[in-house]
């Protein structure tokens, strides 16, 4: 029991606190640099320690310190208890969803395994889940359950502020998040049909299979339509531009968190960045093969044509390469989200609802039927 707790704490610190929080905070900097790049500005570059400016990276530290030293107060007319607890309700579910995402494959004790059916099968002892916090079999369902809790933070925050802007932001965010939750779920049905599991690590392992001998069976290959629909719906679920209508500054000042100051405000914004890291991780895991590197299995690189071992690589090094591949894909998708954010103008609210209910929802239903028919004919 003690070993379990210690190991879990280690994984929590390594995966969630170190990796996710680091990427999320760096994204606050990359976001501003990206906007500067697109708008032909230099962007943040003034904060410095001594004479070190580190291209504006010091601004992250400056922002953290600044929000920490700001006054945290609750408006007189706000609902005191709910107002204070709302940032928690946004922050905790945002971190919790990372529990089931596999950063790397399960580890075989003593490196004893054989490569069978495009996956490593342990031959001695049980495989150990060192690279994800919780080895939950119902991983995908768990993520959906937790993501749907995220709506409470924003909507309760908006209502408890007792502010007209915040209230409108709060009801907008509720309607937007629940709408896109449905579409997020529906777009993944086709994926579940193909891989036949909701265990995220099993799903990634299934994506290592080669189609026609050389194409890795990643989600984006087997379900290209679902990839675009899911990515769109997932960005909408994070309430980030171009779907940031709940906090549209030109209409609502800051939307549902207009009354928040100091660290409570920072928790809201941080949980938004954490949510976009989650989107990147989910898309990576579901559609881009997670930790898979094409043709790389536990014992090394395989020749896709013959299936023979082409280049032998030590087991531990393979693990390192796979985790590195996962991080690379996640960072690439984080960057893509920033690019989308600064390229597209904000949707109108009716356009947003129309996109969710009248375009993505019917398309994903058709996708389910086409996938079903295709699997049936192929069998």
């Amino acid at each position: 029991m003690l070993v379990l707790i210690a190991l879990t704490l280690l994984k929590v610190v390594g995966i969630v606190l170190a990796f996710v929080m680091l990427v999320a905070t760096i994204m606050t900097w990359a976001d501003r640099k990206q906007s500067a790049l697109i708008q032909d500005r230099i962007g943040p570059n003034r904060a410095s320690i001594g004479s070190v400016r580190a291209a504006g990276l010091i601004h992250i530290l400056a922002d953290a310190l600044k929000t920490l030293f700001k006054e945290d107060f609750t408006p007189r007319d706000a609902n005191q208890g709910l107002f204070r607890i709302a940032p928690f309700l946004a922050f905790v579910p945002a971190l919790l969803a990372f529990a089931v995402i596999p950063v790397g494959d399960t580890y075989c004790p003593d490196g004893a395994f054989i490569v069978q059916n495009f996956r490593d099968v342990c031959t001695a002892g049980a495989q150990a889940d060192y690279f994800r916090v919780s080895n939950m079999g119902a991983g995908l369902l768990c993520i959906f359950a937790i993501v749907s809790l995220g709506v409470y933070g924003a909507s309760i925050g908006g209502w408890a502020s007792n502010n007209k802007f915040a209230l409108i932001g709060g009801v907008r965010v509720t309607a937007q998040m629940v709408s896109y939750e449905v579409t997020m779920g529906l777009t993944l049905v086709g994926l579940l049909m193909i891989y036949g599991t909701v265990d995220l690590n099993e799903m990634v392992r299934a994506q290592g299979t080669l189609l026609w001998g050389f194409v890795p069976m990643w989600g984006i290959v087997t379900q290209p339509v679902a990839f675009f629909l899911f990515f769109t719906a997932a960005i909408a679920e994070t309430k980030r531009p171009p779907f940031d209508i709940p906090e549209a500054e030109s209409e609502l000042a800051a939307g549902y968190f207009v009354e928040y100051s100091s660290m409570r405000f920072a928790l809201f914004t941080l949980s938004e960045y954490v949510a976009s890291v989650l989107v990147a991780m989910m898309v990576t895991t579901l559609f881009l093969g997670g930790w898979q590197v094409p043709y790389l299995y536990g014992d090394g690189l395989h020749n896709p044509m013959t299936g023979d071992l082409a280049l032998s690589i030590p087991y531990l090094l393979v693990k390192v390469i796979q985790i590195g591949a996962f991080c690379f894909k996640v960072l690439a998708l984080c960057w893509l989200q920033l690019q989308v954010r600064w390229t597209l103008p904000r949707f109108r609210y009716d356009q947003l609802m129309k996109l969710g209910w009248k375009v993505i929802l019917p398309l994903s239903l058709i996708n389910v039927l086409v996938t079903g028919l295709w699997l049936l004919v192929a069998a």
Binding site: V16, D77, I194, V258
Partner: protein, 123 residues
């Protein structure tokens, strides 16, 4: 036995403690100079006019109800989708496909109904 839930609980505890620690530090380090106008509700600089808890558009309620309906449909689709290939392997593929075709058709009729009724219109 409940290992996966214990680990999830540990992560939840860490997340709560992290958030609480940040807010605690903030409450120590931040100033506390409350004034009457600072504690007022923000209304772009004007005197707050009335209470914010007013009526808002019925469409938000409609979306909430539609969400419950369609989310439950998704819940029914998930187990079917996971087992679909096993059914095909067992030779029952066509049967379960038509079953789900009927289910999705009913779902589609429901969507067409709310569409025609204008429940998805925002103007």
């Amino acid at each position: 036995m409940y290992e996966q839930y214990i680990t999830l609980g540990i992560l939840a505890a860490v997340a709560v403690v992290t958030g609480a620690a940040i807010l605690f530090l903030n409450s120590i380090l931040g100033p506390k100079r409350w004034t009457a106008s600072k504690l007022d509700t923000f209304e772009t600089g004007n005197e707050p006019e009335g209470d914010a808890r007013q009526r808002f558009s019925i469409r938000f309620y409609l979306v909430a109800i539609l969400f419950i309906l369609f989310d439950i449909e998704v819940v029914f689709l998930f187990p079917w989708a996971v087992l679909y290939r096993q059914y095909i392997a067992a030779g029952l593929g066509l049967f379960v496909f038509i079953e789900m075709l009927v289910f999705i058709s009913i779902l589609g009729v429901g969507l067409a109904y709310v569409w025609r009724k204008g429940a998805l219109e925002w103007d």
